[in-house]
């Protein structure tokens, strides 16, 4: 309930209370041409789903759950799936619904044309932002109000340009859609960066909020009350615990360097900063010499640990903790749109016909495959291209090429 009010309040630029929104509905409609929701329970369900929606970790996959809700409302189902904007409106008359439908449908077609025009204009290499991230518009908007992060350094200018182009082709609020798209992109970038570096700083964030606890154990072993020992079963002696307890204070220190400095030795700083020497590419002789030195120094492994170390260096043993992407470091630098948007490679194939249909299915499958590198995907596509060129006569006989 509160979420709905907040949503309505934030969506209202003029800041009118939600009850009064019903009366100004028409003016809003003319401004923004929103699609309407006819029944109240429908709207409530939509709110609940979007309010609870988890951060969309894969914004570029089709989330059919969200899209199904919109089908029930009067959203247009044009060939373009991008124009799915979920709006919540109080009940309108049937005629207004119909008007909305028609106006929205017209807009949908022009977006498709505009988008195709954009596609043909731009070069192949320019990445295209999939506007399906619009589906999580309300959840994204909610997050925008709660957390204000402005990190623009990580996005490439091409992506920003593509996002602004897509936003300008949308008929609805352009600045808002653009900001939401950019936010999604930034989040994606930050996620991949965190994944690359491993989670190093999060523990610091968590611990920062914790309180420092005092050690209650400071002097209790030295109290006279603790020095008397009592044997429970009448043996006349207790089990001697040894000298371990006397080193308790020393052991409690977590590291060697936390005590107070004694300032006995002067701390030298002249050995640390030396100018970096010129390092040229090591020649084969240098590599050979280094190998010889390493072979002289290397002893046979004295125990199982050294054997495992040797095997890890050789590459016979995996590195622990197991990294699933062990051999694929440079693969993580490849941006996602090269994996997903493979349509540009289909330009050598005929536009119509079964061959095109087949290749579109191939592209679809490859774009969903996270286990192949981009090179491997390209090799698949090129192989098919060559194969169909070789079999051109056969295909022409059966009128397929």
């Amino acid at each position: 309930m509160y979420r709905r009010i907040i949503l309505l309040a934030t969506r209202n630029r003029s800041g009118i209370s939600p009850i009064a929104e019903h009366s100004i509905n028409i003016t809003n409609q003319q401004e923004t041409k929103r699609t309407s929701v006819s029944t109240c329970p429908n709207r409530q369900r939509m709110h609940y789903n979007k309010g609870v929606c988890a951060p969309n970790n894969r914004p570029f996959s089709t989330s059919t759950a969200l899209s199904k809700e919109n089908e029930e409302s009067s959203a247009p189902k044009t060939g373009v799936t991008e124009a799915k904007v979920k709006e919540e409106e109080p009940r309108k008359s049937g005629k207004e619904n119909l008007l909305d439908l028609l106006s929205a449908m017209k807009v949908g077609v022009t977006t498709k044309k505009k988008f195709q025009a954009l596609k043909s204009q731009k070069s192949k290499e320019q990445p295209r932002v999939h506007p399906e991230s619009m589906e999580s518009a309300t959840s994204m908007f909610q997050k925008a109000t709660t957390e204000q992060q402005a990190q623009k350094e990580s996005l490439s200018p091409e992506l920003v340009a593509a996002a602004s182009a897509v936003a300008s082709s949308m008929p609805f609020k352009k600045s808002q859609t653009e900001s939401e798209l950019l936010q999604q992109l930034r989040k994606h970038e930050s996620d991949t960066e965190v994944h690359k570096k491993g989670e190093t700083n999060n523990i610091g964030n968590i611990i920062a909020d914790m309180k420092v606890g005092k050690h209650p154990n400071a002097r209790s072993p030295n109290r006279p009350a603790n020095q008397i020992r009592f044997d429970d079963d009448g043996r006349g002696y207790t089990h001697d615990r040894g000298v371990v307890n006397e080193f308790d204070a020393v052991r409690r220190r977590k590291s060697l360097f936390t005590g107070k400095r004694l300032n006995i030795f002067p701390s030298t700083t002249d050995t640390t900063e030396t100018e970096p020497k010129e390092v040229s590419v090591p020649s084969l002789w240098d590599i050979e010499l280094a190998g010889q030195i390493a072979a002289v120094i290397k002893h046979l492994p004295r125990n199982g640990f050294e054997e495992m170390i040797q095997w890890t260096k050789d590459g016979k043993l995996w590195q622990y903790p197991i990294n699933n992407e062990a051999g694929l470091e440079e693969e993580s630098d490849v941006p996602f749109h090269e994996h997903v948007f493979l349509d540009s490679h289909l330009e050598d194939f005929p536009k119509q016909g079964p061959v095109r249909h087949f290749m579109e299915l191939v592209i679809n499958g490859l774009s969903k495959n996270p286990y192949l590198t981009v090179k491997q995907k390209m090799e698949h596509i090129e192989w098919f291209h060559e194969y169909f060129q070789q079999k051109e006569e056969v295909l022409k006989e059966s009128e397929a090429y």
Binding site: P354, L361, V362, L372, H380, W383, Y387, L395, S398, A400
Partner: protein, 136 residues
């Protein structure tokens, strides 16, 4: 992706020597070359795995063309003939998961790649980590 699946099946590296294979050196005298595999059948299995790895991508693409309702049937028939023309050892069906130690073709547990006899031998001598005699 097919290639990576089959790469896991290739147990040893790509260098292998023939077992008890006689080569002629440059001087002309025949020398024996000692190999690492238990028997010839194991060697043949290794060769089949390597060949299946080489042809994995091609087979995947040819099968994608063949098992299709969209492309014309004449093309599919030609693809059928082409895939039949691949070497016989290139198909993954011919690979047999033999025991790594004894080359036994039957009774091999896939997780350890060992036959049941070797597995039992090692487990009884405490050489298998985490394996214990069952008792319940």
């Amino acid at each position: 992706m097919a290639a990576s699946v089959l790469a896991r099946l290739v147990k040893s590296g790509f260098e292998f020597l023939q077992t008890s294979f006689r080569t002629t050196s440059q001087a002309g005298n025949v020398e024996q070359v000692r190999g690492y595999y238990v028997n010839w059948r194991m060697l043949r299995d290794v060769k089949r795995r390597q060949m299946a790895f080489e042809y994995a991508n091609d087979r995947l693409r040819m099968n994608a063309i063949r098992k299709n309702t969209i492309l014309p049937k004449e093309l599919q028939e030609i693809a059928d003939k082409e895939i039949a023309a691949f070497p016989r050892d290139s198909c993954p069906v011919r690979i047999r998961n033999r025991c790594v130690m004894t080359s036994r073709p039957r009774g091999v547990k896939r997780r350890w790649r060992l036959s049941r006899i070797v597995f039992r031998h090692l487990a009884d001598h405490n050489q298998m980590s985490g394996i214990q005699r069952a008792m319940w």
